[in-house]
Symmetry: C2
């Protein structure tokens, strides 16, 4: 039975609510409403279709209480730092009191909130803190390269370059072609979509590769696994997470994700992003002695460019990588999929 | 006042008790006894000097109760997995009941053990779980490269190649020369020696670089900082920890530590260690776009070789790195220090 969900995205829908848009695009669930009180305040008849295309339509409402009946409330937005915004409290308590589960990828754990925990007990609903890793994650054994499954991992020149989207689009296109494929989520949005997974950025650093290895091992009955990458090997803060995914998944091939025109690390503007061709070689060198692999395709986010600007950017990216290149949203992923299958 | 400590190393002293030997070599404390019931059982008059040279002498005893009076018991040995060995319980409780603090680098936290916690409260002693990171560690800002201090970080071709020893010897030799230097510990032994520090392998992976940055920032009033590295960039399980230290400390120079003759990753024998020259270049490439640096010297562990074997190994290592090379224990660190100052 498909679950009916409401997605909280106050003040951020759609561009500032990455989890909300990811859930709308990819989750196997019926979204009955998006909660965005700013949009609903401006237009009481607002609908998702007015703001985001290519996903199922539903009303945008101001609060949980205004939404049609649902089975789970998903927190679809994350303030900087991952804290809980107290202005959302009524939405969460109303959801719990109506018998709905609550799913959250925040660093703040709802199950540790005394009020939410008490209410959830009273109403027998689940508070699922997606970002809490399992307690028994441990060190990698270094066995992913021996698994009898073809592993494709996305990597990036920076955060927010489209790794989740590219991975998901590749996975779905493969399944559509009849390929026996699995999706390995490593971040909160992917985990919510897949209803399974380990948040790699929250694991103990000694166990980061081990957590990825555990997931690919668990799903190694598939012929192909598409592993969602995180961050970038040239990121001054998040590179350990990136490397844990590279060494833990030991991929057969890599797809490098880049945003056209981005020159500096997002939020760390004094750090230049090197030539993507150089970044690709760095990933290959790092993999070499652990489990050799190659960047076989490039995904380029050209959302803010015109058609001809995008064509120029893709031509440049193609020559930097000497590999097939496409914008998964603009062009689809057929060409990229050919390169990895 | 110098603290008097007893060091627990049952069944492992000296070669299987890395923390015990590190504490004996480098801690600013008076070791009144080593606890090793196997050695003391064979020879009731056993002394440290019979088993380890170059450190202050003291008796080896079978239990806490047999040791001269001390202010703190240090757990100087770690079983695989970092658990607590229940046969040590009487030593810990006796120590607490005699009014001594207990210092442990185990993954098992003594303060979470109900019996130890209760006893420690009753006797007003401290249980210091060195491996518990502070709660408020957060993401790196990427500022270590701007600090007005010269940062030297040790890196390795594998775990257990002598990074802690090399870093500590360089630091102490620098201080002996009158250089204003600080030591940045990143693992349990270094933290116990320094009585300060964050266990980098236990931080959340998103915060690994941030934890290192926080330490170098806190000590940046020194002219030179010597940062203890961990693991290796080519290690299939621990590479994220290594990279967090490289990108978090943004060093001015690197010292690459290698064990002569070691060909495979310790405990992961199917993973070959590449040519050290290649590993050095990999560290430099990884640092390049975040904070450029160079391998300026090599430390070679030649403990198991003859004098002439060691000379051959050093000549080979020197040509691989094209940099000055020495075995810090056999040769001292003068030549290496010249290269980094």
């Amino acid at each position: 039975m498909t679950r009916r969900i409401a997605v909280l995205a106050h003040g951020g829908f759609p561009d500032g609510a990455k989890t909300a848009t990811g859930v709308l695009r990819y989750a196997d669930a019926e979204v009955v409403a998006v909660l965005d009180r700013d949009i609903a305040g401006d237009d009481p008849d607002a609908r998702i279709a007015d703001h985001l295309s290519g996903v199922a339509d539903a009303p945008i409402v101001a609060s949980s209480a205004d939404a049609p009946e649902f089975d789970a409330l998903v927190i679809g937005i994350a303030p900087i730092g991952g804290g809980f915004d107290e202005t959302w409290r009524a939405d969460v308590t109303d959801a719990i009191e109506s018998g709905a589960d609550v799913v959250s990828g925040l660093h703040y754990f709802l199950a540790d909130d005394p009020e939410f925990a008490r209410l959830a007990g009273e109403h027998d609903v689940e508070l699922w803190d997606v970002r809490r890793p399992p307690e028994d994650v441990t060190v990698a054994e270094g066995i992913a390269r021996e698994l009898d499954t073809e592993i494709i991992t996305t990597v990036g020149t920076d955060c927010s370059t489209g790794k989740m989207t590219t991975t998901r689009e590749l996975y779905e296109a493969a399944v559509d072609r009849g390929v026996d494929a699995g999706f390995i989520p490593t971040g909160q949005t992917g985990i919510i979509i897949e209803d399974w997974g380990i948040p790699i950025d929250r694991t103990v650093s000694d166990f980061t590769a081990g957590a990825v290895e555990r997931m690919v091992r668990e799903r190694s009955d598939h012929d192909y696994l598409f592993v969602e990458g995180q961050g970038s090997i040239v990121h001054p803060a998040y590179s350990p997470v990136t490397l844990g995914i590279l060494h833990g998944s030991m991929p057969d091939s890599l797809v490098l994700c880049h945003e056209a025109g981005r020159e500096a690390i997002h939020g760390y503007e004094e750090f230049e992003i090197p030539n993507p061709g150089y970044v690709a070689e760095l990933y290959e060198s790092l993999a070499e002695s652990v489990a050799p692999t190659e960047v076989v395709a490039g995904a380029l986010n050209t959302a803010h460019l015109t058609e001809s600007g995008a064509d120029d950017a893709k031509a440049r990216y193609r020559s930097q990588l000497t590999a097939p290149v496409a914008d998964p949203i603009r062009d689809g992923v057929d060409e990229l999929l050919e390169a990895v299958l």
